[in-house]
């Protein structure tokens, strides 16, 4: 019976849909985190037979991250123009559209697109946005704002930073949301109930007044540029909390650990911010507060993985990976206890072509010539290049960069780190250390990034998907789209 078949199919669809629903979604972004970042951090901190917390999540796959050119259509359209350079991933995830590299919350033709966090807020979910970067930086701002240009961060408008005539033809009026400084948007649109991170310098006295008027508990003060501290965070309460702990990006964990009495060490860790954000978003409504809490949507960003990868600083990159993975554990533990939370861990793009090289070897960047290919006489290997055996170029390879070669600014040598199975006397920066790391460049790459997931609907993250599909998966889980 056709009708019966259709009914059964519909019932199966309904059952599948229900399985993929979640009360809460915690979305963790390791900015710039590629597959090798994960492997290197695992080997560094837990050994080759260990696992990061993210690696223990049951669903695993990869995500493609390409952007599109300005004025491009979406995939499948005749005007689709992919761009291999990777950024704009925040908009792909949060709004489900491909866009150009500088765009936030708009597609490649400049049309405003709602974000998952806006939809969640509108539907009555509680919302949180946490980052170790300035909260106006691309990943957090991709959920909280709509801007033609990610450089339009504030505290003030400038035409060069905010307008994009290649998209709009003529300058937009300064009342248009798309050229409104991102800090001004965040302080007024109420999209996130909990806002924790850096970037106090982007906000001013008028912003603080706007936040207070909406009921935010403001930690520190934009007016006086007094940064919040982890002590402030620990005692924070209320339905809406705004706390920025540095005028710019937060301080890297390695520095805080090495200088425990510094002012920067008073910044909370990403784990501490994650724990507090979850606590604030799950607290029971007090008298006088709205009882609309149906669940929450929380985004957590470990931003400094990317920033220290740009700098090719492997020690700091690894430290930020550990800090990010510690936050993943907080989310995972909450989800395991809650039983109705989807946790997704992924990245926006890979940064710097991070590589693990075999102990004792060297990279092309250190070499006097590319690898040998002298067997062109062999019909099985007769490709064009004929090159003699290569060797290290002393002017490009002055020793281990976090060891003997640390003072040479032109040194392309590897960074080395001890791993748990190394002998007790082995130290970082020595040739005896087991983990040898190098970088391809100082910029983003086009490599697919890993994704790990746990909870209702997480099986959709197995395999390889494109980053705009994340919008549908999260939106469906929270019943924001159907």
């Amino acid at each position: 019976m056709v009708a019966g078949t259709a009914g059964a199919a519909s019932a199966r669809d309904d059952a599948r849909d229900n399985r993929n629903r979640a009360a809460n979604v915690i979305y963790l972004l390791g900015d710039g985190m590629g597959r090798t970042h994960v492997t290197a951090a695992r080997e560094r901190y837990y050994g080759t037979d260990g696992k990061l917390s993210m690696e223990t999540l049951p669903s695993q796959g990869f995500i493609s991250t390409y952007a599109v050119k300005k004025l491009s259509g979406q995939p499948g359209s005749k005007t689709f123009q992919p761009n291999a350079v990777t950024a704009s991933a925040a908009t792909a995830r949060s709004s489900g559209v491909k866009t150009y590299n500088a765009a936030l919350g708009v597609n490649a033709t400049g049309t405003v697109k709602p974000t998952i966090m806006e939809l969640a807020k509108k539907s009555g979910l509680r919302t949180g946005n946490v980052s170790t970067a300035e909260i106006t930086d691309a990943t957090p701002a991709g959920q909280l704002s709509h801007a033609l240009a990610r450089g339009c961060q504030g505290p003030v408008y400038s035409s060069a930073a905010c307008q994009d005539l290649a998209i709009t033809g003529t300058a937009l009026p300064t009342t248009d949301i798309r050229v409104t400084p991102i800090a001004d948007q965040i302080a007024r649109n109420g999209t996130a109930d909990v806002i924790l991170g850096g970037g106090l310098g982007r906000f001013d006295a008028v912003d603080e007044e706007a936040l207070t008027d909406q009921g935010y508990s403001v930690l520190g003060s934009p007016t006086t540029q007094t940064v919040a501290t982890k002590t402030d965070l620990a005692s924070a309460s209320g339905a809406k909390v705004f706390g920025l702990f540095n005028t710019g990006n937060l301080t890297i964990e390695k520095t805080k650990q090495e200088k425990p009495t510094s002012a920067e060490a008073q910044e909370p860790t990403l784990s501490e911010m994650t724990s507090k954000a979850i606590a604030l978003l799950t607290q029971k409504a007090s008298k006088g507060e709205s009882k609309t809490k149906k669940g929450f949507y929380l985004q957590i960003e470990g931003a400094l993985i990317d920033k220290r990868s740009h700098a090719n600083d492997a020690a700091q990159t690894l430290g930020e990976m550990k800090a990010f993975d510690d936050a993943v554990k907080i989310a995972k533990d909450f989800a395991a206890k809650d039983g109705n939370t989807l946790v997704i861990v992924t990245a926006d793009h890979e940064c710097a072509g991070f590589n693990i090289i075999e102990k004792g070897t060297f990279t092309n960047a250190e070499a006097s010539a590319p690898p040998a290919n002298v067997d062109s006489g062999n019909p099985a290997n007769n490709s064009t290049p004929i090159r003699p055996r290569n060797s290290k170029d002393a002017t490009r390879s002055a020793g281990i960069i976090n060891g003997a070669g640390s003072t040479d600014p032109k040194n392309f040598g590897p960074a080395t780190f001890r791993v748990p199975t190394d002998a007790a006397h082995v130290v970082d920066g020595s040739p005896e250390a087991g983990l040898w790391l190098s970088y391809l460049s100082g910029n983003h790459t086009g490599a697919d990034v890993p994704v790990y997931a746990y909870g209702p609907g997480s099986d959709q993250l197995n395999g390889t998907i494109d980053n705009i599909a994340l919008f549908g998966i999260v939106g469906h889980a929270l019943q924001l789209v159907s």
Partner: protein
């Protein structure tokens, strides 16, 4: 309340997600959730200024820094003023992979230290896939040059310099 004018909003509503969620064609959502008006926000009417520049009265020949919101993120170096233009270098000292936006605002003063007027240096990194080979390289070191506006020629005897716009990552 300020109304947003000329705003393009997608009206496309596509329902039916689950199977499609794994494809490249993610579902769209209704645009109603976007806050397109920002209550109480005054629309900017021009390029940014620095209040500190108006308060300063530098002595003849001086090139002095003016306070701005990002003073903990850069240092000004190699400052020179020859009466016709002020030059120097902004070295960004916070995280840098790219300097996306930078403005250096110069205040020019007469012999009494009274502000004559301002002009600015604007750096904007085109960020559309690095198609411009001159803008794809990380920059921490940005040289600037700001000429004395023609109407103040010969009268500008000192300078203050500040940074009202800085976006780097």
């Amino acid at each position: 309340m300020i109304a947003v004018s000329g705003l393009a909003l997608s009206g496309l509503i596509v329902w039916g997600v689950n199977a499609a969620a794994r494809t490249a064609h993610a579902p769209s959502a209704p645009p109603f959730a976007v806050a397109t008006t920002l209550p109480g926000l005054a629309a900017p009417t021009g390029e940014p200024q620095l209040a500190s520049i108006a308060r300063m009265h530098p002595t003849t020949g001086a090139v002095v820094p003016a306070a701005g919101p990002f003073d903990d993120r850069f240092v000004l170096q190699d400052l020179r003023f020859d009466g016709a233009r002020v030059t120097g270098v902004v070295d960004v000292t916070s995280d840098v992979s790219e300097v996306l936006e930078l403005q250096v605002l110069a205040g020019f003063y007469d012999a009494d230290g009274a502000l004559l007027g301002t002009d600015r240096f604007v750096h904007h990194l085109t960020d559309d896939g690095g198609t411009d080979p001159t803008t794809g390289t990380p920059q921490e070191h940005t040289a600037f040059s700001i000429a004395v506006p023609a109407e103040f020629a010969g009268r500008a005897l000192s300078v203050s310099l500040g940074v009202p716009v800085l976006v780097n990552e």
